[in-house]
């Protein structure tokens, strides 16, 4: 009999919620010079704080908090997109970048950088909005291209193959652009490795909107998603509108992935690892599974963001590298344990 760490999804949800709040609170203390003491940060918020205090309050409110919240939101979007992709493709190895959205977003950013011919670090907010928009548009366009190439979303295998083709072709496009504009390589690298450093409150608001929409779709289609588990034919025989559902779900995956990638770049592994780890911690159900995968994805990325700020402070590690190490390492450990127990699935 399969053993789960948590009997009830609610228990895991509560634990993830508490850990998230703790982590975000901890994140407000982490500055470029190491951790601030909690009392000094608390004092900064009180009326009549001195100049240093007001400055600290501004740093916390304008930089540290939106950054932590943004990392959580981007991780949650990727976790949700991964869980939905795994349900749609009935494959636990499916990830949100499967439909070409990552390479679409990269090409979008590439082209936007060429148009602005600026470095990612130095562009002001208008430019950053342009990059975000370009990444989002690129991701969505790539998914639409994949669906068009696969002549609809009815056939899983054709869709996966089309996704691979689109990823390769658009990836080649990015390489070509970079070849012609080598000065953009460094800015581009920041995007490819993923970074949570530039997320502001406006980005948070957009990601929150996308996350709420994605969760609403998940809750509305939850029982139907469970029906898909028994295969398309059985789902159809039970009267489920399989084709319409797949369109809605794939567009939701594209929206969630696009919103995350546009703000934080290509964060590796969260979208694959979050639902996968959730599956091992609690009995899977499409509805609570996707919500928990979102919460875990958020926690994973918020933790990685905090570590990225602290490990080699005052410098920063690319957060995508950390997610790959953390998520990948944990997943490997889980698989090894499962192997030892002889219940590898």
């Amino acid at each position: 009999m399969k053993h789960y760490w948590f009997h009830r999804p609610l228990h895991l949800g509560l634990l993830l919620g508490v850990l998230t709040v703790l982590l975000l609170a901890l994140g407000t203390l982490a500055g470029s010079g190491g951790m601030d003491a909690p009392p000094s940060v608390l004092r900064a918020w009180q009326a009549g704080a001195d100049e240093d205090g007001r400055m600290l309050a501004q740093i916390v409110w304008q930089i540290r908090l939106p950054r932590g919240v943004g990392a959580w939101l981007a991780g949650a979007l990727l976790g949700l997109a991964g869980a939905l992709a795994q349900s749609v493709f009935r494959n636990p190895l499916a990830d949100p970048y499967l439909l070409g959205s990552a390479s679409g977003a990269s090409l979008g950013v590439c082209l936007a950088l060429v148009a602005m011919d600026g470095a990612l670090i130095n562009v002001h907010w208008l430019g950053r909005l342009g990059l975000t928009g370009a990444a989002f548009a690129g991701a969505m366009l790539a998914v639409v291209m994949t669906a068009a190439l696969a002549r609809g979303v009815a056939q899983t295998l054709r869709l996966l193959l089309a996704g691979v083709v689109v990823a390769v072709v658009l990836g080649a496009g990015s390489s070509l652009v970079l070849q012609m504009h080598p000065q953009l390589l460094q800015s581009m690298q920041g995007f490819m490795l993923g970074s949570t450093a530039f997320v502001g409150w406006d980005g948070c608001a957009l990601m929150l909107a996308a996350l709420l929409l994605g969760l609403a779709v998940t809750v509305a289609l939850g029982r139907l998603l469970d029906g898909l588990v028994l295969g398309e034919h059985t789902a159809r025989s039970m009267g489920l509108p399989v084709d319409a559902m797949r369109w809605v779900l794939i567009l939701t995956v594209a929206l969630a992935t696009g919103a995350a990638v546009a703000h934080t770049g290509l964060i590796a592994f969260v979208g694959l690892a979050a639902p996968h780890i959730t599956r091992r911690m609690v009995r899977w159900g499409a509805r609570h599974g996707a919500v928990l995968a979102a919460m875990l994805g958020g926690l994973l990325l918020a933790a990685a963001d905090l570590l990225a700020r602290l490990v080699i402070a005052p410098a920063e590690l690319p957060v995508g590298v950390l997610t790959a190490l953390l998520g990948g390492g944990y997943l490997l450990w889980l698989m090894r344990r499962a192997n030892d127990a002889g219940v590898m699935q």
């Binding site: 009999m1 399969k2 469970d226 028994l230 295969g231 034919h233 009267g239 159900g285 699935q345």
Partner: protein, 270 residues
């Protein structure tokens, strides 16, 4: 005042043609399945048995006319059709991560609205279905941990939980040991006695001969339909299987046994 009467024909098919990937698989199939009977479908490998069953369930693009309990299938809403006709496929995914109990509850989907939850009646029906296939004991186990036969009985319970008057089953006996095959026959008899119509593709000819009627397919065409007790059905069976089986009657039950090829028979007697 008259009570609504059930039409005497559960499934009526006229001129059914199905192509898969551009290749014609079923040609001009005409058939009628009487209500409240168990009808088996047999035929050599590749005859189109599973395709016929899936087409009847509306799962494949098909040309021709199908009516279900007197109503044109094409004009039915998907939800209504799903409540009227249950289908269990062969080699379909079983939902490895789900508990047997959750899988059987999915059979109640045709009775639920989009956002509505499970009713007490759904739980009752699911329990009844699991008990009827002797799968109640492992309702808490995940599908991935069940043996082939155990899993088959859960999937069968899922189809029964739909409570449809017409039930289509593709190879329901695969992976089942002889006692559970006999149980399945009792269950089918009970369903039919309760007014349901069961149409099953069966690989094992002796099992198929236990049904009320038999449809025999060959190369995508219906070559015979008749009562299982009818000697003409037995002869038609022997013919589609190239005379490599012989149908005998033993204690009033028809039984199909393999017949050795003429060449090996000659060698053995030499």
């Amino acid at each position: 005042m008259t009570a609504p009467t059930t039409p005497s024909t559960a499934l009526l098919v006229r001129g059914l043609n199905v192509s898969l990937g551009g290749r014609p698989v079923l040609h001009e199939v005409d058939l009628a399945v009487p209500t409240g009977r168990w009808v088996s479908i047999v035929g050599p490998n590749g005859a189109g048995k599973s395709t016929l069953l899936a087409a009847l369930a509306g799962l494949l693009p098909a040309q021709g006319h199908i009516s279900l309990l007197g109503q044109d299938v094409a004009s039915m809403s998907p939800a209504y059709r799903a409540r009227t006709l249950a289908w269990m496929g062969q080699n379909e995914p079983a939902g490895e991560d789900l508990r047997a109990w959750d899988v059987v509850l999915l059979g109640r989907l045709p009775h639920q609205g989009w956002l509505s939850g499970l009713q007490a009646q759904d739980l009752q029906v699911a329990e009844q279905a699991l008990r009827s296939t002797q799968a109640w004991d492992w309702r808490e186990r995940s599908m991935g941990t069940l043996s082939g036969g155990e899993r088959q009985r859960v999937l069968l319970a899922r189809a029964l939980a739909v409570q449809a008057p017409v039930i289509l089953l593709d190879e329901p006996l695969s992976h089942l040991d002889p006692p559970h095959q006999a149980d399945w026959m009792d269950l089918t008899r009970a369903l039919v006695a309760g007014g349901a119509t069961v149409l099953s593709v069966l690989h094992e000819v002796s099992m198929a001969l236990q049904a009320d009627e038999m449809l025999i397919l060959q190369n995508g065409r219906l070559v015979h339909q008749g009562a299982c007790a009818d000697p003409r059905t037995h002869r038609a069976l022997e013919q589609v299987f190239d005379q490599r089986i012989a149908v005998h009657t033993l204690d009033g039950q028809a039984l199909a046994l393999p017949r050795r090829a003429a060449s090996t028979q000659a060698q053995a007697s030499a």
